[in-house]
Protein backbone atom coordinates (compact mmCIF):
# COMPACT_ATOMS: atom_id res chain seq x y z
CA UNK A 1 0.00 0.00 0.00
CA UNK A 2 1.28 3.44 -0.90
CA UNK A 3 1.96 5.61 2.12
CA UNK A 4 1.90 9.40 2.04
CA UNK A 5 3.42 11.14 5.02
CA UNK A 6 2.60 14.75 5.74
CA UNK A 7 2.12 17.04 8.70
CA UNK A 8 -1.46 17.93 7.85
CA UNK A 9 -3.81 16.31 5.38
CA UNK A 10 -6.71 18.32 4.04
CA UNK A 11 -9.81 16.59 2.72
CA UNK A 12 -11.34 18.75 0.02
CA UNK A 13 -10.14 21.56 -2.19
CA UNK A 14 -13.09 23.93 -2.08
CA UNK A 15 -13.19 27.28 -0.33
CA UNK A 16 -12.61 25.93 3.15
CA UNK A 17 -9.95 23.38 2.25
CA UNK A 18 -8.00 25.91 0.26
CA UNK A 19 -8.26 28.45 3.05
CA UNK A 20 -6.85 25.88 5.44
CA UNK A 21 -4.04 24.91 3.06
CA UNK A 22 -3.14 28.58 2.65
CA UNK A 23 -2.66 29.06 6.37
CA UNK A 24 -0.82 25.78 6.79
CA UNK A 25 1.59 26.56 3.97
CA UNK A 26 2.28 29.99 5.42
CA UNK A 27 2.96 28.40 8.80
CA UNK A 28 5.64 26.26 7.21
CA UNK A 29 4.10 22.88 7.84
CA UNK A 30 3.92 20.14 5.24
CA UNK A 31 0.48 19.97 3.62
CA UNK A 32 -1.22 17.49 1.32
CA UNK A 33 -4.68 18.20 -0.11
CA UNK A 34 -6.82 15.24 -1.13
CA UNK A 35 -9.66 15.86 -3.54
CA UNK A 36 -12.19 13.35 -4.74
CA UNK A 37 -12.86 15.27 -7.92
CA UNK A 38 -10.31 15.20 -10.76
CA UNK A 39 -10.02 18.97 -10.48
CA UNK A 40 -10.50 21.56 -7.81
CA UNK A 41 -13.69 20.73 -6.02
CA UNK A 42 -16.32 22.33 -3.95
CA UNK A 43 -19.47 24.10 -4.89
CA UNK A 44 -17.63 27.29 -5.47
CA UNK A 45 -17.60 27.55 -9.23
CA UNK A 46 -21.34 27.99 -9.28
CA UNK A 47 -21.71 30.19 -6.26
CA UNK A 48 -19.82 33.13 -5.02
CA UNK A 49 -19.78 36.29 -6.96
CA UNK A 50 -19.55 38.13 -3.67
CA UNK A 51 -18.36 37.79 -0.14
CA UNK A 52 -18.88 39.60 3.12
CA UNK A 53 -16.03 40.74 5.32
CA UNK A 54 -16.37 42.14 8.80
CA UNK A 55 -13.74 44.84 9.26
CA UNK A 56 -11.31 44.32 12.12
CA UNK A 57 -12.50 47.23 14.23
CA UNK A 58 -13.99 46.88 17.70
CA UNK A 59 -17.27 48.42 16.59
CA UNK A 60 -17.68 46.22 13.55
CA UNK A 61 -16.62 43.02 15.28
CA UNK A 62 -18.87 43.67 18.28
CA UNK A 63 -21.91 44.54 16.19
CA UNK A 64 -21.39 41.58 13.88
CA UNK A 65 -20.90 39.22 16.78
CA UNK A 66 -24.12 40.34 18.43
CA UNK A 67 -26.13 40.05 15.23
CA UNK A 68 -24.70 36.65 14.44
CA UNK A 69 -25.13 35.24 17.94
CA UNK A 70 -28.74 36.39 17.98
CA UNK A 71 -29.29 34.97 14.51
CA UNK A 72 -28.14 31.58 15.75
CA UNK A 73 -30.46 31.88 18.73
CA UNK A 74 -27.31 31.16 20.75
CA UNK A 75 -27.15 27.61 19.46
CA UNK A 76 -23.85 28.31 17.69
CA UNK A 77 -20.45 28.06 19.32
CA UNK A 78 -20.24 31.71 20.31
CA UNK A 79 -16.47 31.73 20.67
CA UNK A 80 -16.24 30.32 17.18
CA UNK A 81 -18.43 33.12 15.83
CA UNK A 82 -16.04 35.63 17.31
CA UNK A 83 -13.04 33.98 15.67
CA UNK A 84 -14.76 33.46 12.32
CA UNK A 85 -15.67 37.12 12.14
CA UNK A 86 -12.10 38.10 12.90
CA UNK A 87 -10.85 35.81 10.14
CA UNK A 88 -13.40 37.25 7.74
CA UNK A 89 -11.56 40.56 8.02
CA UNK A 90 -8.64 38.88 6.22
CA UNK A 91 -10.66 38.04 3.13
CA UNK A 92 -10.23 41.29 1.17
CA UNK A 93 -6.44 41.13 1.44
CA UNK A 94 -6.35 37.49 0.37
CA UNK A 95 -8.87 37.67 -2.45
CA UNK A 96 -8.28 41.15 -3.81
CA UNK A 97 -4.59 41.71 -3.17
CA UNK A 98 -2.99 38.28 -3.16
CA UNK A 99 -5.24 36.53 -5.67
CA UNK A 100 -5.79 39.65 -7.78
CA UNK A 101 -9.54 39.35 -8.11
CA UNK A 102 -11.23 42.65 -8.84
CA UNK A 103 -14.16 43.90 -6.81
CA UNK A 104 -15.81 46.57 -8.97
CA UNK A 105 -18.50 47.18 -6.37
CA UNK A 106 -17.94 47.29 -2.62
CA UNK A 107 -20.80 48.19 -0.32
CA UNK A 108 -19.49 49.52 2.95
CA UNK A 109 -21.91 49.08 5.80
CA UNK A 110 -21.96 50.89 9.08
CA UNK A 111 -21.68 48.51 12.05
CA UNK A 112 -24.83 49.95 13.58
CA UNK A 113 -26.71 48.86 10.44
CA UNK A 114 -25.56 45.25 10.52
CA UNK A 115 -28.40 42.77 10.39
CA UNK A 116 -30.90 45.12 8.81
CA UNK A 117 -30.44 44.36 5.12
CA UNK A 118 -31.61 41.42 3.11
CA UNK A 119 -31.84 40.58 -0.55
CA UNK A 120 -28.57 40.28 -2.32
CA UNK A 121 -26.38 40.48 0.72
CA UNK A 122 -25.37 37.02 -0.42
CA UNK A 123 -28.85 35.68 -0.05
CA UNK A 124 -28.23 35.28 3.63
CA UNK A 125 -30.76 36.13 6.23
CA UNK A 126 -30.62 39.59 7.71
CA UNK A 127 -28.59 38.06 10.48
CA UNK A 128 -25.65 37.53 8.17
CA UNK A 129 -25.53 41.09 6.93
CA UNK A 130 -22.52 41.73 9.12
CA UNK A 131 -19.89 43.61 7.17
CA UNK A 132 -18.80 45.06 3.86
CA UNK A 133 -20.06 43.31 0.75
CA UNK A 134 -17.57 42.77 -2.07
CA UNK A 135 -18.99 42.02 -5.50
CA UNK A 136 -16.35 40.30 -7.58
CA UNK A 137 -15.53 40.32 -11.25
CA UNK A 138 -15.37 36.86 -12.74
CA UNK A 139 -13.73 35.76 -15.94
CA UNK A 140 -15.88 35.08 -19.00
CA UNK A 141 -19.30 33.83 -17.99
CA UNK A 142 -18.14 32.44 -14.66
CA UNK A 143 -18.11 33.59 -11.10
CA UNK A 144 -14.97 35.00 -9.60
CA UNK A 145 -14.26 32.43 -6.91
CA UNK A 146 -13.51 29.79 -9.50
CA UNK A 147 -10.52 31.83 -10.62
CA UNK A 148 -9.65 32.88 -7.09
CA UNK A 149 -9.31 29.30 -5.94
CA UNK A 150 -7.39 28.26 -9.03
CA UNK A 151 -4.88 31.06 -8.46
CA UNK A 152 -4.65 30.06 -4.82
CA UNK A 153 -3.90 26.49 -5.86
CA UNK A 154 -1.11 27.59 -8.20
CA UNK A 155 0.27 29.81 -5.45
CA UNK A 156 0.23 26.98 -2.94
CA UNK A 157 1.80 24.50 -5.34
CA UNK A 158 4.72 26.90 -5.65
CA UNK A 159 4.97 26.85 -1.87
CA UNK A 160 5.19 23.07 -1.88
CA UNK A 161 1.62 22.08 -1.08
CA UNK A 162 0.88 18.69 -2.65
CA UNK A 163 -2.45 18.13 -4.36
CA UNK A 164 -3.84 14.66 -4.94
CA UNK A 165 -6.84 14.77 -7.25
CA UNK A 166 -9.20 11.83 -7.86
CA UNK A 167 -8.03 10.57 -4.48
CA UNK A 168 -10.96 10.56 -2.06
CA UNK A 169 -10.39 10.07 1.64
CA UNK A 170 -12.88 7.46 2.82
CA UNK A 171 -11.78 6.61 6.30
CA UNK A 172 -10.20 8.45 9.19
CA UNK A 173 -7.67 6.62 11.34
CA UNK A 174 -7.95 7.24 15.06
CA UNK A 175 -6.14 5.63 17.95
CA UNK A 176 -8.29 3.26 20.01
CA UNK A 177 -10.21 4.34 23.09
CA UNK A 178 -10.88 7.86 21.94
CA UNK A 179 -7.31 8.66 21.07
CA UNK A 180 -5.97 11.12 18.56
CA UNK A 181 -6.36 11.03 14.82
CA UNK A 182 -3.27 9.70 13.09
CA UNK A 183 -4.15 9.53 9.45
CA UNK A 184 -6.64 8.45 6.86
CA UNK A 185 -7.27 5.99 4.08
CA UNK A 186 -7.79 7.29 0.58
CA UNK A 187 -8.32 5.58 -2.75
CA UNK A 188 -6.74 6.30 -6.09
CA UNK A 189 -8.70 6.29 -9.31
CA UNK A 190 -7.62 2.71 -10.04
CA UNK A 191 -8.95 1.62 -6.67
CA UNK A 192 -5.63 1.16 -4.92
CA UNK A 193 -5.51 2.16 -1.31
CA UNK A 194 -3.36 5.00 -0.02
CA UNK A 195 -2.47 5.25 3.63
CA UNK A 196 -2.07 8.82 4.78
CA UNK A 197 0.04 9.30 7.88
CA UNK A 198 -0.40 12.75 9.35
CA UNK A 199 -0.31 14.61 12.62
CA UNK A 200 -3.58 16.38 11.91
CA UNK A 201 -6.43 16.01 9.46
CA UNK A 202 -8.72 18.80 8.32
CA UNK A 203 -12.03 17.67 6.87
CA UNK A 204 -13.43 20.26 4.50
CA UNK A 205 -15.49 18.01 2.27
CA UNK A 206 -18.48 20.26 1.69
CA UNK A 207 -21.98 18.92 1.59
CA UNK A 208 -23.80 15.96 0.14
CA UNK A 209 -25.89 17.38 -2.69
CA UNK A 210 -24.57 14.75 -5.07
CA UNK A 211 -25.89 11.98 -2.84
CA UNK A 212 -29.66 12.04 -2.91
CA UNK A 213 -30.08 8.65 -1.18
CA UNK A 214 -28.05 9.91 1.79
CA UNK A 215 -29.97 13.19 1.89
CA UNK A 216 -33.22 11.24 1.95
CA UNK A 217 -31.94 8.85 4.59
CA UNK A 218 -30.97 11.76 6.82
CA UNK A 219 -34.27 13.55 6.24
CA UNK A 220 -32.62 16.47 4.46
CA UNK A 221 -34.62 15.81 1.33
CA UNK A 222 -38.27 14.84 1.62
CA UNK A 223 -40.26 15.55 -1.47
CA UNK A 224 -42.07 13.72 -4.21
CA UNK A 225 -40.34 16.02 -6.70
CA UNK A 226 -37.09 14.16 -6.26
CA UNK A 227 -36.28 14.13 -9.97
CA UNK A 228 -35.87 17.90 -9.87
CA UNK A 229 -33.00 17.47 -7.42
CA UNK A 230 -31.00 15.29 -9.80
CA UNK A 231 -28.14 16.66 -11.86
CA UNK A 232 -29.39 19.27 -14.27
CA UNK A 233 -32.71 19.80 -12.53
CA UNK A 234 -31.04 22.85 -11.08
CA UNK A 235 -32.85 22.82 -7.81
CA UNK A 236 -29.61 21.87 -6.18
CA UNK A 237 -27.31 24.18 -8.03
CA UNK A 238 -23.94 22.89 -7.18
CA UNK A 239 -22.66 21.91 -10.56
CA UNK A 240 -23.71 18.51 -11.85
CA UNK A 241 -21.41 15.63 -11.03
CA UNK A 242 -19.88 17.59 -8.18
CA UNK A 243 -19.02 14.39 -6.31
CA UNK A 244 -20.09 16.04 -3.06
CA UNK A 245 -21.56 12.96 -1.51
CA UNK A 246 -21.12 13.27 2.22
CA UNK A 247 -17.86 11.32 2.43
CA UNK A 248 -16.54 13.74 5.02
CA UNK A 249 -19.59 13.50 7.23
CA UNK A 250 -19.61 9.71 7.14
CA UNK A 251 -15.91 9.45 7.91
CA UNK A 252 -16.17 11.85 10.85
CA UNK A 253 -19.27 10.19 12.27
CA UNK A 254 -17.66 6.77 11.94
CA UNK A 255 -14.89 7.66 14.35
CA UNK A 256 -17.16 9.28 16.91
CA UNK A 257 -17.77 12.80 15.64
CA UNK A 258 -20.97 14.36 16.86
CA UNK A 259 -23.83 14.45 14.38
CA UNK A 260 -25.23 17.92 13.87
CA UNK A 261 -28.33 19.03 12.04
CA UNK A 262 -28.18 19.41 8.29
CA UNK A 263 -29.98 21.94 6.13
CA UNK A 264 -30.05 22.72 2.45
CA UNK A 265 -28.54 26.12 1.78
CA UNK A 266 -31.58 27.06 -0.11
CA UNK A 267 -32.36 29.41 -2.92
CA UNK A 268 -35.95 28.92 -4.08
CA UNK A 269 -35.98 27.52 -7.58
CA UNK A 270 -38.40 26.63 -10.31
CA UNK A 271 -36.72 23.54 -11.74
CA UNK A 272 -35.49 23.12 -15.30
CA UNK A 273 -36.03 22.46 -18.14
CA UNK A 274 -36.49 25.74 -19.89
CA UNK A 275 -35.75 28.00 -16.94
CA UNK A 276 -31.98 28.21 -17.30
CA UNK A 277 -29.92 27.82 -20.44
CA UNK A 278 -28.44 24.52 -19.41
CA UNK A 279 -27.96 22.06 -16.60
CA UNK A 280 -24.84 23.68 -15.16
CA UNK A 281 -25.17 27.42 -14.82
CA UNK A 282 -28.00 28.69 -12.64
CA UNK A 283 -27.01 32.28 -13.19
CA UNK A 284 -27.57 32.08 -16.96
CA UNK A 285 -31.33 32.41 -17.22
CA UNK A 286 -33.29 31.22 -20.22
CA UNK A 287 -36.19 33.49 -19.37
CA UNK A 288 -37.57 35.68 -16.58
CA UNK A 289 -38.85 32.93 -14.30
CA UNK A 290 -36.41 33.83 -11.53
CA UNK A 291 -37.40 37.48 -11.67
CA UNK A 292 -41.10 36.63 -11.55
CA UNK A 293 -40.73 34.23 -8.65
CA UNK A 294 -38.84 36.80 -6.58
CA UNK A 295 -41.86 39.09 -6.63
CA UNK A 296 -43.84 39.49 -3.38
CA UNK A 297 -47.15 38.06 -4.53
CA UNK A 298 -49.38 35.30 -3.23
CA UNK A 299 -47.66 32.08 -2.25
CA UNK A 300 -49.33 28.99 -0.89
CA UNK A 301 -48.39 25.44 -0.04
CA UNK A 302 -50.03 22.29 -1.40
CA UNK A 303 -52.83 22.71 1.11
CA UNK A 304 -53.63 26.02 -0.51
CA UNK A 305 -52.54 27.92 2.59
CA UNK A 306 -50.28 30.92 2.83
CA UNK A 307 -47.21 30.23 4.92
CA UNK A 308 -45.16 33.43 5.00
CA UNK A 309 -45.35 37.17 4.57
CA UNK A 310 -44.82 37.40 0.81
CA UNK A 311 -42.56 40.40 1.27
CA UNK A 312 -39.94 37.85 2.25
CA UNK A 313 -39.97 36.42 -1.28
CA UNK A 314 -36.48 37.73 -1.94
CA UNK A 315 -35.08 36.71 1.42
CA UNK A 316 -33.92 33.28 0.46
CA UNK A 317 -33.08 32.13 3.93
CA UNK A 318 -36.49 33.07 5.23
CA UNK A 319 -38.64 31.70 2.47
CA UNK A 320 -36.59 28.58 1.93
CA UNK A 321 -36.58 27.72 5.60
CA UNK A 322 -40.35 28.18 5.71
CA UNK A 323 -40.82 26.00 2.64
CA UNK A 324 -38.50 23.27 3.83
CA UNK A 325 -39.56 23.05 7.43
CA UNK A 326 -43.29 23.65 7.15
CA UNK A 327 -44.57 22.76 3.70
CA UNK A 328 -45.49 19.38 2.25
CA UNK A 329 -42.98 18.16 -0.32
CA UNK A 330 -40.66 21.13 0.29
CA UNK A 331 -42.67 23.10 -2.24
CA UNK A 332 -44.67 26.26 -2.59
CA UNK A 333 -46.76 27.78 -5.32
CA UNK A 334 -46.77 31.34 -6.58
CA UNK A 335 -50.16 32.26 -7.98
CA UNK A 336 -51.21 35.43 -9.76
CA UNK A 337 -53.74 36.54 -12.31
CA UNK A 338 -53.71 38.33 -15.62
CA UNK A 339 -53.91 41.76 -13.97
CA UNK A 340 -50.74 41.04 -12.00
CA UNK A 341 -49.07 39.70 -15.15
CA UNK A 342 -49.89 43.04 -16.80
CA UNK A 343 -48.60 44.84 -13.71
CA UNK A 344 -45.25 43.07 -14.01
CA UNK A 345 -45.08 43.99 -17.68
CA UNK A 346 -44.99 47.62 -16.52
CA UNK A 347 -42.04 46.89 -14.22
CA UNK A 348 -41.13 44.75 -11.25
CA UNK A 349 -41.47 45.91 -7.68
CA UNK A 350 -38.81 48.29 -6.42
CA UNK A 351 -36.52 46.85 -3.85
CA UNK A 352 -36.83 43.31 -5.08
CA UNK A 353 -33.36 43.27 -6.46
CA UNK A 354 -32.13 39.71 -6.29
CA UNK A 355 -31.06 39.11 -9.89
CA UNK A 356 -33.30 42.00 -10.79
CA UNK A 357 -32.36 45.44 -11.88
CA UNK A 358 -34.90 48.08 -11.03
CA UNK A 359 -37.03 49.00 -13.99
CA UNK A 360 -36.97 45.51 -15.47
CA UNK A 361 -40.20 44.65 -17.24
CA UNK A 362 -41.53 41.12 -17.42
CA UNK A 363 -42.86 40.58 -20.90
CA UNK A 364 -45.09 37.83 -22.22
CA UNK A 365 -45.23 35.53 -19.22
CA UNK A 366 -47.58 33.21 -21.04
CA UNK A 367 -45.16 32.82 -23.94
CA UNK A 368 -42.23 32.26 -21.59
CA UNK A 369 -44.17 29.60 -19.74
CA UNK A 370 -45.30 27.90 -22.94
CA UNK A 371 -41.73 27.68 -24.17
CA UNK A 372 -40.54 26.02 -20.94
CA UNK A 373 -43.58 23.72 -20.86
CA UNK A 374 -42.84 22.68 -24.44
CA UNK A 375 -39.38 21.63 -23.26
CA UNK A 376 -40.98 19.38 -20.69
CA UNK A 377 -41.27 21.63 -17.65
CA UNK A 378 -44.10 20.48 -15.40
CA UNK A 379 -43.58 23.05 -12.68
CA UNK A 380 -45.53 25.93 -14.17
CA UNK A 381 -48.91 26.37 -15.78
CA UNK A 382 -51.53 28.88 -16.82
CA UNK A 383 -55.23 28.25 -17.13
CA UNK A 384 -58.49 30.16 -17.22
CA UNK A 385 -59.64 28.83 -13.87
CA UNK A 386 -58.34 28.18 -10.40
CA UNK A 387 -59.84 24.70 -10.64
CA UNK A 388 -57.63 23.84 -13.59
CA UNK A 389 -54.54 25.22 -11.88
CA UNK A 390 -55.23 23.21 -8.75
CA UNK A 391 -55.87 20.05 -10.69
CA UNK A 392 -52.68 20.42 -12.71
CA UNK A 393 -50.43 21.43 -9.84
CA UNK A 394 -51.90 19.24 -7.12
CA UNK A 395 -53.03 22.07 -4.85
CA UNK A 396 -56.03 21.61 -2.55
CA UNK A 397 -58.68 23.66 -4.32
CA UNK A 398 -60.93 24.31 -1.33
CA UNK A 399 -57.95 25.49 0.67
CA UNK A 400 -56.75 27.74 -2.09
CA UNK A 401 -60.17 29.26 -2.72
CA UNK A 402 -60.51 30.04 0.97
CA UNK A 403 -57.05 31.60 0.99
CA UNK A 404 -57.74 33.67 -2.11
CA UNK A 405 -61.01 34.93 -0.66
CA UNK A 406 -59.20 36.18 2.44
CA UNK A 407 -56.26 37.50 0.44
CA UNK A 408 -58.52 39.41 -1.93
CA UNK A 409 -60.39 40.80 1.05
CA UNK A 410 -57.09 41.97 2.50
CA UNK A 411 -56.43 43.75 -0.79
CA UNK A 412 -59.83 45.42 -0.58
CA UNK A 413 -59.44 46.71 2.95
CA UNK A 414 -55.71 47.38 2.68
CA UNK A 415 -54.82 45.22 5.65
CA UNK A 416 -53.43 41.69 5.76
CA UNK A 417 -54.60 40.33 9.05
CA UNK A 418 -52.68 37.07 8.71
CA UNK A 419 -49.16 38.20 7.79
CA UNK A 420 -49.29 42.00 7.71
CA UNK A 421 -47.88 42.05 4.20
CA UNK A 422 -47.60 45.62 2.93
CA UNK A 423 -50.87 46.50 1.15
CA UNK A 424 -49.04 47.64 -1.99
CA UNK A 425 -47.85 44.08 -2.55
CA UNK A 426 -51.22 42.40 -2.04
CA UNK A 427 -52.52 41.88 -5.52
CA UNK A 428 -55.87 40.12 -5.74
CA UNK A 429 -56.18 36.87 -7.63
CA UNK A 430 -59.33 36.90 -9.72
CA UNK A 431 -60.51 34.48 -12.38
CA UNK A 432 -62.43 37.40 -13.90
CA UNK A 433 -59.08 38.90 -14.89
CA UNK A 434 -59.03 36.27 -17.65
CA UNK A 435 -56.19 34.00 -16.64
CA UNK A 436 -54.43 32.39 -13.69
CA UNK A 437 -50.68 31.65 -13.59
CA UNK A 438 -48.85 29.33 -11.24
CA UNK A 439 -45.24 28.33 -10.58
CA UNK A 440 -44.13 25.49 -8.36
CA UNK A 441 -41.12 26.68 -6.39
CA UNK A 442 -38.93 24.10 -4.71
CA UNK A 443 -36.43 24.73 -1.97
CA UNK A 444 -33.17 24.19 -3.74
CA UNK A 445 -29.79 25.50 -2.99
CA UNK A 446 -26.07 25.49 -3.28
CA UNK A 447 -25.10 22.74 -0.92
CA UNK A 448 -26.06 21.10 2.31
CA UNK A 449 -24.89 22.82 5.43
CA UNK A 450 -24.00 21.38 8.78
CA UNK A 451 -23.68 17.85 10.07
CA UNK A 452 -20.30 18.12 11.79
CA UNK A 453 -19.72 20.28 14.84
CA UNK A 454 -16.50 22.02 15.86
CA UNK A 455 -15.24 24.12 18.72
CA UNK A 456 -13.62 27.55 18.56
CA UNK A 457 -10.35 25.95 17.46
CA UNK A 458 -12.06 24.17 14.57
CA UNK A 459 -11.52 20.90 16.44
CA UNK A 460 -14.20 18.35 15.62
CA UNK A 461 -16.37 17.56 18.63
CA UNK A 462 -17.41 14.15 19.85
CA UNK A 463 -20.84 13.29 21.25
CA UNK A 464 -19.78 14.68 24.60
CA UNK A 465 -18.74 18.02 23.08
CA UNK A 466 -15.07 17.24 23.63
CA UNK A 467 -12.56 17.91 20.85
CA UNK A 468 -11.16 14.94 18.97
CA UNK A 469 -7.42 15.44 19.06
CA UNK A 470 -5.86 15.97 15.68
CA UNK A 471 -9.15 16.26 13.80
CA UNK A 472 -10.37 19.57 12.43
CA UNK A 473 -13.21 20.55 10.10
CA UNK A 474 -14.29 23.63 8.18
CA UNK A 475 -16.67 24.91 5.56
CA UNK A 476 -20.25 24.07 4.73
CA UNK A 477 -20.22 20.96 6.87
CA UNK A 478 -19.57 22.92 10.10
CA UNK A 479 -22.09 25.71 9.61
CA UNK A 480 -24.16 24.44 12.50
CA UNK A 481 -21.36 25.58 14.77
CA UNK A 482 -21.28 29.11 13.40
CA UNK A 483 -24.86 29.77 12.25
CA UNK A 484 -26.60 27.64 14.85
CA UNK A 485 -27.48 23.98 15.02
CA UNK A 486 -29.43 22.95 13.08
CA UNK A 487 -28.41 25.65 10.63
CA UNK A 488 -31.09 27.73 8.98
CA UNK A 489 -31.39 27.21 5.28
CA UNK A 490 -29.07 30.07 4.52
CA UNK A 491 -27.53 30.98 1.20
CA UNK A 492 -24.00 30.70 -0.12
CA UNK A 493 -21.44 30.32 2.56
CA UNK A 494 -18.12 31.87 1.58
CA UNK A 495 -18.52 34.09 4.60
CA UNK A 496 -18.41 31.03 6.80
CA UNK A 497 -16.35 28.62 4.74
CA UNK A 498 -13.22 30.63 4.11
CA UNK A 499 -12.90 31.94 7.69
CA UNK A 500 -13.41 28.52 9.21
CA UNK A 501 -10.89 27.13 6.73
CA UNK A 502 -8.37 29.79 7.73
CA UNK A 503 -9.04 29.06 11.39
CA UNK A 504 -8.66 25.30 10.92
CA UNK A 505 -5.39 25.86 9.10
CA UNK A 506 -3.98 28.07 11.83
CA UNK A 507 -5.10 25.77 14.63
CA UNK A 508 -3.87 22.60 12.95
CA UNK A 509 -0.52 24.26 12.28
CA UNK A 510 -0.21 25.30 15.91
CA UNK A 511 -1.13 21.77 16.98
CA UNK A 512 1.46 20.00 14.86
CA UNK A 513 4.08 22.50 16.00
CA UNK A 514 3.18 21.76 19.60
CA UNK A 515 2.08 25.33 20.25
CA UNK A 516 -1.35 24.33 21.57
Amino acid sequence: MEVIKTDVAVMGSGVAGMGAAYKLANAGVKVAVFEKYPAQGGAVSNCPMSFCSTPDTPEAQKSAYEVWARFSNYTANLALISKALKYSSELPDLILNKLKIKAPVVIHREPAEYGTQRGYTMGHANGLDVGDIYFLEGRGQGHAFAMALLRLRFMLEKQGVEFYFSTPIKKILREPNGGKVTGAIAYKKDGTQVRIECKALIVAAGGMTNNIPLMKKLGVLRTKYEEAYQDGGQVLITFPDSCQDGDGHLAVWEIGGKRGGIAISADPQVPNPGVRVGPNTPWLAANQTKIITEQPYLRVNELGRRFINEEMANNHTAISTAIIRNNPNMACYMIFDEDTAKHMSQGVEDGYVYFIFQGVKVENIRGQMDEAIAKGNKHMCHFDTIHEVCEYMGIDEAGLRDTIAKYNHAAEIGYDEQFKTAPKYIRPVREESGHIYCYRILAGGYDTMGGVLIDENANVLDEDNRPIEGLYAAGDMVTGSIYGDPPANAGGNVHGSMPTGLLAGDCAAAYVKGEI
Partner: protein, 63 residues
Protein backbone atom coordinates in the same frame (compact mmCIF):
# COMPACT_ATOMS: atom_id res chain seq x y z
CA UNK B 1 -8.65 24.16 -35.46
CA UNK B 2 -8.66 22.10 -32.27
CA UNK B 3 -9.92 22.73 -28.76
CA UNK B 4 -7.79 21.67 -25.84
CA UNK B 5 -9.00 21.68 -22.26
CA UNK B 6 -6.36 22.29 -19.61
CA UNK B 7 -6.15 19.86 -16.72
CA UNK B 8 -7.07 22.60 -14.29
CA UNK B 9 -10.58 22.80 -15.80
CA UNK B 10 -13.00 22.88 -12.87
CA UNK B 11 -15.78 21.11 -14.77
CA UNK B 12 -18.26 23.88 -14.00
CA UNK B 13 -19.99 23.23 -17.30
CA UNK B 14 -20.37 26.76 -18.61
CA UNK B 15 -19.05 25.48 -21.94
CA UNK B 16 -21.66 22.76 -22.16
CA UNK B 17 -24.50 25.13 -21.37
CA UNK B 18 -23.47 27.81 -23.84
CA UNK B 19 -21.92 25.60 -26.53
CA UNK B 20 -23.62 22.20 -26.40
CA UNK B 21 -22.59 21.72 -30.01
CA UNK B 22 -18.95 21.68 -28.88
CA UNK B 23 -18.82 20.34 -25.33
CA UNK B 24 -20.48 17.64 -23.27
CA UNK B 25 -20.06 16.55 -19.67
CA UNK B 26 -18.55 13.11 -19.29
CA UNK B 27 -19.99 11.61 -16.12
CA UNK B 28 -17.79 8.52 -16.28
CA UNK B 29 -14.49 10.37 -16.39
CA UNK B 30 -15.78 13.43 -14.50
CA UNK B 31 -14.56 15.80 -17.18
CA UNK B 32 -15.75 17.87 -20.12
CA UNK B 33 -15.44 16.29 -23.56
CA UNK B 34 -14.88 18.19 -26.77
CA UNK B 35 -17.22 16.74 -29.35
CA UNK B 36 -14.87 17.17 -32.28
CA UNK B 37 -11.26 16.26 -32.83
CA UNK B 38 -11.06 18.94 -35.49
CA UNK B 39 -13.54 21.77 -35.14
CA UNK B 40 -15.67 22.26 -38.27
CA UNK B 41 -15.16 25.64 -39.84
CA UNK B 42 -18.71 26.78 -39.22
CA UNK B 43 -18.08 26.42 -35.46
CA UNK B 44 -14.75 28.27 -35.31
CA UNK B 45 -16.25 31.51 -34.06
CA UNK B 46 -18.17 29.69 -31.34
CA UNK B 47 -15.08 27.76 -30.34
CA UNK B 48 -13.13 30.99 -29.90
CA UNK B 49 -15.95 32.52 -27.92
CA UNK B 50 -16.08 29.46 -25.66
CA UNK B 51 -12.46 30.12 -24.70
CA UNK B 52 -13.40 33.69 -23.81
CA UNK B 53 -16.36 32.54 -21.72
CA UNK B 54 -14.50 29.93 -19.66
CA UNK B 55 -14.40 30.91 -15.98
CA UNK B 56 -10.81 29.77 -15.50
CA UNK B 57 -9.29 30.10 -18.98
CA UNK B 58 -9.03 26.34 -19.31
CA UNK B 59 -10.25 26.22 -22.92
CA UNK B 60 -7.48 26.74 -25.45
CA UNK B 61 -7.79 27.09 -29.18
CA UNK B 62 -5.05 25.44 -31.21
CA UNK B 63 -5.01 26.75 -34.78
Amino acid sequence: MKIEIADYCIRCGICEDLYPDLFQRNYQEHCMDVLYDKIPEHLWARAKQSAEDCAVAAIRIVE
